[in-house]
Amino acid sequence: MKTTTDNSGDVRLTQIGKRYGAFTAVHPLDLTVPEGSFFALLGASGCGKTTTLRMIAGLEEPSQGAVHLGDQDVTHLPPYKRPVNTVFQSYALFPHLDIFENVAFGLRRRGIKSVKKQVEEMLDLVQLGEQARKKPHQLSGGQQQRVAVARALINHPKVLLLDEPLGALDLKLRRQMQLELKRIQTEVGITFVHVTHDQEEAMTMADTVAVMNAGRVEQLGSPTDLYENPRTTFVANFLGTSNFIEADVDFKTGDEIALNAGGGKLFLPVARCSAPAASGGKVLVGVRPEKISLTHADDAGEIPEGRNRITGRIADSSFIGVSTQYVIDSPVCSGFEVYAQNVDRDPRLTPGAEVVLHWNPAHTFGLDAAQDADAGVESVEEDAA
């Protein structure tokens, strides 16, 4: 639809922070969202993600720092003078106006007289051409959501802000709208900044995800990067599930760190270790449940050389169709989670069986041992409930 070649769609936050009295909602942070990207702010409720979004929109005055859109400093501009538009949580459609007038609202306020063609095109884009004369309350949740997107997009904002736009929809509709939003973003090429607490949503839709926790950005990167190389236990636990073993650093070779966990040897690529890992120090060794293979203790000899391995006993297993999820108790770590694809199921792998867990050392990541291994676990469960 509209493509710009300059970088006027960049969002730059410089040392931006927000305090309410003694409470700090957002610690001073720097963030750059490149033009045309789909950026997600991910975190549990109360982590400051919505406050950050509202500071970009101008609905919240930052206590410090600056907001730039491209080269323009918009820090002190009121919301109605900023070239950004927001899709609000629960949509905030005007109940006294019909769908057409809701979508035309922004154009009319800017004094554009002939809005009919634009509004109709926009309603077609979100597949609501037939509903133009209905009132918001006559539409379903998914349709209202699309009106909210259309109402914002019609203004060709430099940046579209989305505040938990899919939170009120049921799971199936949410999946559908995720793809729909992604399609629209690709089609219009506008910078999207999306706030969500749903890690799956963030990973499916965004090019770049910033994981926020307690008013700080914990880590920023592509979904794959965040998932494969988490740098804190919070990120490791908030995005998917992680297993952690506390290990002592034995020695360091060129690009590998040898570790000692309860007598067993583990190897970790230096590049995947975010902790200092000096000899004699401690490291939290992390590995994702789906990277691990399970072999019955009787067949331990068949495991190829060069793999990280630990022994344990199956405490629990649950069959969920495509895969089986095992919980394994091991001397170095209790409650180890392993997800095994149901390709060739070994019938001996039942609760009580002695097993060897093994994985490619390249899939190991190392974290600073001085942090809580369970950070970020609880908040995920809270949202799921």
């Binding site: 609905l59 009121p78 109605y80 927001t86 609000f88 005007f94 109940p95 019909d98 609202f105 006559q138």
Partner: protein, 266 residues
């Protein structure tokens, strides 16, 4: 027992009709007696059908003057109470200030106060201030007692309003004035209209407070009261019927418009 069964099935409708009849009977009497031709000065007994009073509604000395005065006071009191009351309602819902809770309950006080007591104390106040009793004292008193009702009606509406709607308007390039005119006011309008209608009705037929503070000015309710001592002209019924008809037409028109809008949408 077919009759008993029939009665059982239609009991709710019958009870409803009786209640409606009970509600509307006074209006029917007023209307019927506006076509009476009484023998004496009192319009209390049916004599014969006549349209004399309808042909000459202002035929009674002083009545139409008092009616016009009452209408003027009602319009100004409605305007004053609605504007002030709406502002108070917004302040009470939207802003956190010290003693907000106290103000919230103080607003209800005039509604709870016996009217006759308030009337007497208002008179004392006006006399002590050396105010000339008349149009202005009546208007001030009316705005005062209408305020609580307007505040209550508007507050309920504003409280149920999502503050994000105004943020959305601002986000869509509407400045503060535009946001208020295009979003806040239209959404609060039903509450404001309800408050205004209530204020008009309360002001128009108020007798007690008006009687105390009117001085030599005579409003329509005062005129009716006064004439009831000496004889009730049929024209009073004519005015009453006319007002009833206007109100019914008002309701019907808004219903028809509402229906037509809904049909257009569907």
């Amino acid at each position: 027992m077919p009759f008993v069964n029939w009665l059982k099935r239609h009991l709710v409708v019958i009870a409803g009709l009786f209640t409606l009849g009970y509600l509307l009977l006074p209006n029917v009497v007023v209307t019927v007696f506006s076509f009476n031709k009484p023998k004496g000065r009192f319009n209390y007994e049916w004599q014969q059908f006549s349209t004399d009073a309808w042909k000459d509604p202002c035929g009674v000395a002083g009545m139409c003057g008092s009616l016009s005065l009452s209408l003027q006071i009602a319009v100004w009191a409605t305007l004053g109470a609605t504007v002030l009351g709406t502002m108070i309602a917004f302040a009470l819902v939207r802003y956190r200030f010290r003693a907000r809770g106290a103000v919230n309950s103080l607003i209800f006080l005039p509604m709870a106060m016996p009217e006759v007591v308030m009337a007497a104390s208002l008179l004392t106040l006006f006399l002590n201030m050396g105010a000339q009793l008349g149009f202005w004292t009546i208007l001030i008193a009316h705005i005062m007692f209408c305020l609580s009702f307007v505040v209550t009606a508007v507050k309920a509406r504003v409280m149920s309003m999502d503050p994000r709607l105004e943020q959305a308007a601002q986000d869509l390039y509407a400045g503060p004035v535009q946001t208020f005119l295009r979003v806040t006011l239209p959404i609060a309008a039903p509450g404001i209209a309800a408050g205004a209608l209530l204020a008009f009705a309360l002001s128009f037929d108020d007798f007690i407070i008006t009687n105390f503070n009117a001085g030599s000015t005579v409003t329509f309710p005062m005129f009716v009261w006064g004439s009831a001592q000496r004889g009730t002209p049929v024209q009073i019924n004519v005015i009453g019927t006319a007002m009833f008809v206007v109100a019914v037409l008002f309701v019907l028109t808004s219903m028809v418009i509402g229906n037509r809008r809904n049909k257009q949408k569907a």
